[in-house]
Every structure is written in structure tokens, then in C-alpha cells.
């Protein structure tokens, strides 16, 4: 510590000068920006959730199940994702598909997001490209553990995010969430 830093009042005033400088400089830049000087950019607050930062296209967000043309899941219940999942958060129960060309389908496909570590292994392991993590949805909080379990129907209803990374499906609100 330098000798000068030992004086309390001096340091407080120096801090005020620094803060005041940023405050007034930013205010000037924002006023200039508002008056039409588009090159003037001050410190920015993003108005989340109305506004979002651009996300990386490789972002791993909430999972979704890809649909066939008829709306049924593309998943064939091969259990690759369930097997590879390091968090063991995927629960699949297989069933017979009426079409012998498809043969197998999931009668139950639950992901426990309370356990999920968002590693993306399920997406990589899938031989049918039936599970993706491209919804752009990051907000899936819940007041209970049960609310973190996403069923096949919920996962099937999700759409991929738009090209700007903004989610196109509404954030699924668990039944137990009232706010």
C-alpha cells in the first residue's frame, strides 16, 4: 500500500471523482445517442427479458424432441441418450410402434432437468437426430423437484430458437409455478 492510500478522505474523494466521471460521461453519450449521434455508445443495460444478449449458435439450452411429419416423436427409444447420460436424468420406456418400418417408439420420455448437467451428450449420441438442445430457452425454474421433470409431450411441443437465438416457443411454465 502506498503512503497516499492510507488517507481515508483522499481515497474517498478519488473514488467519487472516478464514479462521477463515468456517470457524466455515460450520460453525455446516451443523450448524444438519443439526439441522433448513433456512433456514441455508452455503457449498456440490456432490458432482460424483453431484450436478450445474442447467444452463441452452439448454446446448449432446454432440450426438445424432434417431430416427424405427423407430429409423433422421431425418437425410436434406442436408449442411447439414456445410456450415455452422465447425470442419469433421462427416463425412457419403449413401446411397439404400429408401423413395422419404425417398430419402436417411446411411450414415456422424461428428462429431469433438476439432474441434467447440460453436457449435450444425448444430442451427440442420438442416431435419429431426435433430441436437440436448440430451443434457446434457459428459464425453467420451478418451486418443486417434480416441476423440473419435463415429459415427452412438453418436450415435443417445443420449437427451435429463431435465427437470432430468441426462443420461438413460450417458456414452459410448470404447473406449480404461480408467478
Amino acid at each position: 500500500m502506498k503512503t497516499g492510500q492510507r488517507f481515508y478522505l483522499r481515497e474517498v474523494l478519488a473514488g467519487l471523482v472516478l464514479t462521477g466521471h463515468h456517470f457524466f460521461a455515460n450520460m453525455g453519450k446516451h443523450i448524444a445517442h438519443a439526439l441522433g449521434r448513433k456512433d456514441a455508445r455508452g455503457a449498456v443495460t440490456i432490458q432482460y427479458p424483453e431484450e436478450r444478449r445474442p447467444y452463441s449458435p452452439r448454446l446448449r439450452s432446454l432440450h426438445r424432441l424432434v417431430r416427424r411429419e405427423d407430429g409423433s416423436p422421431r425418437c425410436v427409444a434406442c436408449m442411447m441418450c439414456e445410456t450415455v447420460c452422465p447425470a442419469r436424468c433421462i427416463y425412457i420406456v419403449a413401446d411397439e410402434h404400429p408401423n413395422p418400418e419404425i417398430e419402436k417408439m417411446p411411450s414415456r420420455f422424461d428428462i429431469d432437468l433438476g439432474k441434467c448437467v447440460f453436457c449435450g451428450f444425448c444430442v451427440e449420441a442420438c442416431p435419429e437426430d431426435a433430441i436437440r438442445m436448440d430451443t434457446g430457452i434457459l428459464e425453467f425454474s420451478s418451486y418443486s423437484r417434480l416441476g423440473m421433470i419435463y415429459t415427452k409431450e412438453m418436450l415435443l411441443a417445443l420449437e427451435p430458437a429463431g435465427p437470432d437465438g430468441v426462443p420461438r416457443s413460450p417458456v414452459p411454465i410448470p404447473a406449480d409455478r404461480t408467478v
Partner: protein
């Protein structure tokens, strides 16, 4: 005896042994699909090619008997190249639908492709499409596209069961396995074609889509379906309890034992494990209708046994109990001086019949053991005594007496006349509903023990899963009664009970779990056994 060299190792084998078996004995695996040691040689798959010195071309190992001085190479470049080409042929029309195929994980196409595959396929044409998901019978599902036409199933139906339901129809790449018109694969051994199918063409309808095979744990066991005691492997699903509707036992697979069942088991035994995970399983002890702690129930039973004279107590043991259980029961009856002990209860009509191969009419795994360990008794006489009011405490193991080959009304009369009817078994039945005291027993997959088959072969089965609730093996239950009666129980493991059994009962003398091993051992004085000749190999009966 020919002496030959395989991959630089010398071995002497019996005359007539083929090169696959000779190599297997040296620990060298020659890849093959169509060859099966229990079936005739077809030479269909051409995968088992090996190089033999002084022969111009590689030859198939399955159909080449070992000869003296033969020098065989299984790993030359030419052989590997040939395997790669054969795998390419086998996979030309294969749909590669491993994600939906039940065989994935135990498929020899997958295994050999990983070893010898041509990873960059050259096939450009449209694959030939064939019927998928065709039920062949009550137990077997056919997917003709996945089939590599090794003909093992066809040979099985011709040579082992002698029923000949299956054949190969069509020519060229349109050939496919199928049923002869008007036939169904309905013989009692149909499940074996699933085992011997090296690919996913034949799958088990009972097991289909329930559990992926890589989640299964295997345990060596004995089929409890009949007195034959076929050697099986129990495949249990403990890792993913939400699969298969919570059934812990996923399937039974035969385990090779030349002295009992060779490679096969019957469908009655194969699909006869439902009771293990049935809702009717008894998990906790009951007194009247109320569930009670096991200790409380045991004390109540002890009380009843002490309160009555031995002449008022009768025990109906079961030939489903293991040797260890029966011995513990014998200890108890000797301690208390109970004379009224029996185990044989006639089956209800229609009485089960034996078939022409493995299945025995006696559907209990340990009748011979019960005959050897327990004194001979008459169950009908015990019931008659109960009806006359001379039996105050009747302890029934496992049997449903109301569904036996007796008059149900008379049996009910007898059971209602008894003061304390004790039932200990794995599953609830009409008899347990009448019982005043119900004690849960562990099923055969939940415990260790030995069964003695009808020819006197003592064979071990092992615990594959935890017992449900408070269920105990019968030797454990009886041991907990013997302690308060002043007899130290033989130990806290089935093996210790068996050791004591071997020192007490002369027929078991000298046997230990080690000497029984995986293949079983004969009771003293019983002649060694061999697996029966399959009906398909026997000479036809004169018309």
C-alpha cells in the same frame, strides 16, 4: 488322437473335432455365424475361413476335422481379408437398424463388424426389403431383413425338436426365413431359436423392447420349472428400474451343461419366472389381515410351536424349497419331535405332463432333495388328521392346498379346523388367504441355495436380486426359530447350512459348494448323467 498346431500353439484333440472347437480350446476364437456345437454343420456363412498349410485356399474351420500334423493359421492377412469380404456380403441387405433392434449389444454382426468390418461401405444400390416384425409364434418375432440366413433356427427345428416348422424360402438375395404354410412356431422349445440366432432376426416377444441388454446383470442359476433342473442364466435389470414395468427379472437364458440340458431350455421354464415380480408377492409378515414386523410373527409362531405338543403340530414342506431349507426344517422337526411332516402334494387336474425332451411332469425343482432329506410322510393323512381336529398348528410351505388335486371343500374344512394355520411362501394364494400367520419367503432368484434334480444332481443357484420387503430364505427363517429353541443355527449363509447338511445326510456326504461348482455334482450313489437325446435326433418310431 490328432495333434495339430493352431497359430503356433500345439494341441491334441479327439478325432473328429473340427478346427473351431480345437481353436476354442486354445482360447483362439474363429469368427462364425452358422456353426453351433449343438447342431449339424451347414457351412452357410463362410466366415470361419482359416489358412491351413499345404492347402491352396483357405477352408472353413467348421467343416474341417482336425488332422494329425495340421498347421492352421487364423490371423493371416488373407484370412482377415476374407472375413472382411464375407462381412460385407452379410451386411449388403442388412437394414442397420441397430437402434430399434433388441439384439443390439449382444449381436454377432456388431461384434464381428467392429473386429473385421469394412468401415467404408461400397454398397450403393437400394437394399432388398423384406417383412419386418412378423410374429412366428407365441414367443418369437421375425425380422427377415436382419437375417443373414445362417439357418441355425431351421436346423434347430429339424434336428432338436424334430418339428420342422421353419424353412428358407425364395432364391438369391430374396431368400428369407419363414414358416411352412399352416404352421406356427409353437413347440415347447421355440425360445431357443432366439438364443441361437446370431443376429437380430429372431427376437423374443416376451422380452421385446423391455430392457436394453447392456443394462442387464447375469447370474448363474437353475431353472425351478421342473425336476430336470436345467442350468440357466438369470438376466436381471437393476440399473434402470423404470424399464420393463418394474420387473426385475428380465429373462432366462440357457447355460450350457452337457450333463443336464446341453444348450437348451424349454419355454415353460424360460417364461415361468413371472411370479418373482408379481403383485401377489408376499413382502411382509402378516398376522390375520394386519402386516406385522417379522420378529413379532416369528415370536407368535414360536409361541404356537411351544404351546402345543408335537403330535398337534404338522408341517407341509414343499419340493420348491432348496436343500438347505429342507435340512433346516429337518433340524426343526427333530428338535421339536414333530412326526407329521410331508412335502408331496398331488397337482390339480389337468396334471402337467412331461414332454419328449427336457420338461418333466414333476414341476418342482427339488422333489429328489426333499425325498433324500426329509422322512417320508403323507400329506393326505395330515389333512385328514386336521379335518378330524387332531392338528392344532399346521405350517404350510409354498403350496396352495386348495388348488391341489384334492377336494377343495374337504381341504378347506381341514384348514379351517386348524387353530393356527401358518403359511410361508413367496406368493399369496388361496391357502395364504386362510392363514392366521403369513411369513414371506425369498424367491429363488433372491437367495443362494441348491436343488437336487430328479437324477440326483445337486446344482447351485445364486442370488441375483435383493429379496422384496422382509422376505427371507427359508433356512434363515427356520434358523431364527431354532436359535430361541436352543439349537444354534448352522450359520448366516446358505453355504454353511449346506456344509452341515453334507455332514449329516449321508447322500450329500463330501459335497461342498466348491465341489458342486457351476456344473453340479451327483448325490452319493447316483450314476452320472448326460443330457437327453433330442427328439429330432432319435430314430423315428416304427409306423
Amino acid at each position: 488322437m490328432p495333434r495339430l498346431t493352431i497359430d503356433g500353439k500345439e494341441i491334441e484333440v479327439e478325432a473328429g473335432t473340427n478346427l473351431i472347437e480345437a481353436a476354442r480350446r486354445l482360447g483362439i476364437e474363429v469368427p462364425h455365424y452358422c456353426y453351433h456345437p449343438g447342431l449339424s454343420i451347414a457351412g452357410q456363412c463362410r466366415l470361419c475361413m482359416v489358412d491351413i498349410e499345404k492347402t491352396p485356399r483357405p477352408s472353413i474351420a467348421c467343416n474341417t476335422p482336425a488332422a494329425d500334423g495340421m498347421v492352421v493359421h487364423t490371423q493371416t492377412e488373407r484370412v482377415k481379408d476374407m472375413r472382411r469380404s464375407m462381412m460385407e456380403f452379410h451386411l449388403i441387405n442388412h437394414p442397420l437398424d441397430c437402434p430399434v433392434c433388441d439384439q443390439a449389444g449382444e449381436c454377432w454382426l456388431q461384434i464381428y463388424y467392429m473386429q473385421h468390418g469394412l468401415y467404408d461401405p461400397r454398397m450403393l444400390d437400394e437394399k432388398v426389403h423384406k417383412p419386418k416384425a412378423v410374429p412366428l409364434g407365441p414367443h418369437v418375432m421375425l425380422d427377415a431383413e436382419r437375417c443373414i440366413l445362417c439357418s441355425r433356427c431351421v436346423r434347430f427345428c429339424d434336428e432338436i425338436t424334430g418339428t420342422g416348422e421353419l424353412g428358407i424360402f425364395g432364391r438369391g438375395d430374396h431368400s428369407e426365413i419363414g414358416l411352412f404354410p399352416g404352421q406356427d412356431l409353437e413347440n415347447n422349445y421355440s425360445g431357443n431359436v432366439v438364443d441361437i440366432c446370431p443376429v437380430g432376426a429372431l427376437t423374443d416377444r416376451d422380452f421385446r423392447f423391455r430392457v436394453r441388454v447392456w443394462y442387464l446383470d447375469t447370474t448363474k442359476s437353475i431353472c425351478p420349472g421342473c425336476a430336470r433342473g436345467c442350468n440357466v442364466e438369470v438376466h436381471v435389470n437393476r440399473k434402470r428400474p423404470h424399464h420393463a414395468e418394474g420387473r426385475r427379472v428380465a429373462r432366462l437364458k440357457p447355460r450350457f451343461n452337457d450333463a443336464v440340458n446341453a444348450w437348451w431350455i424349454c419355454d415353460v421354464g424360460r417364461y415361468g419366472f413371472d411370479a418373482v415380480d408379481d403383485p401377489s408377492r408376499i413382502r411382509f409378515a402378516r398376522r390375520g389381515d394386519a402386516e406385522v414386523e417379522l420378529d413379532e410373527a416369528l415370536n407368535a409362531l414360536l409361541d404356537a410351536l411351544r404351546r402345543h405338543t408335537p403330535a398337534e403340530i404338522a408341517i407341509l414342506a414343499s419340493p420348491d424349497l432348496a436343500n438347505e431349507d429342507l435340512f433346516a426344517l429337518r433340524r426343526l422337526t427333530e428338535t421339536l419331535g414333530i412326526r407329521q411332516v410331508a412335502f408331496g402334494v398331488p397337482p390339480a387336474a389337468p396334471t402337467p405332463a412331461a414332454d419328449d425332451f427336457l420338461l418333466r411332469a414333476d414341476r418342482h425343482p427339488n422333489t429328489r432333495g426333499a425325498e433324500t432329506i426329509l422322512p417320508a410322510g403323507d400329506a393326505a393323512a395330515i389333512l385328514a388328521a386336521a379335518r378330524a381336529g387332531r392338528v392344532k398348528v399346521l405350517w404350510v410351505f409354498q403350496h396352495d392346498l386348495l388348488a391341489a388335486g384334492w377336494s377343495a371343500a374337504e381341504t378347506r374344512q381341514a384348514l379351517e379346523r386348524v387353530d393356527t394355520l401358518v403359511f410361508s411362501g413367496t406368493n399369496d394364494n388361496a391357502t395364504s388367504a386362510l392363514a392366521t400367520l403369513v411369513l414371506p419367503l425369498a424367491a429363488w432368484v433372491e437367495r443362494d441355495g441348491t436343488f437336487t434334480n430328479f437324477l440326483g444332481r445337486v446344482q447351485r443357484f445364486r442370488a441375483a436380486v435383493e429379496p422384496l420387503g422382509e422376505a427371507l430364505a427359508a433356512w434363515d427363517l427356520l434358523g431364527r426359530l431354532l436359535g430361541p429353541l436352543g439349537v444354534p443355527p448352522a450359520g448366516a449363509r446358505a453355504e454353511l447350512w449346506f456344509r452341515e447338511l453334507a455332514t449329516t445326510v449321508s447322500a450329500f456326504a463330501g459335497l461342498t459348494y466348491q465341489s458342486i461348482g457351476d456344473g453340479g455334482a451327483m448325490l452319493a450313489g447316483a450314476p452320472p448323467t448326460t443330457a437327453p437325446e433330442p427328439p429330432g435326433r432319435r430314430a423315428p418310431a416304427p409306423a
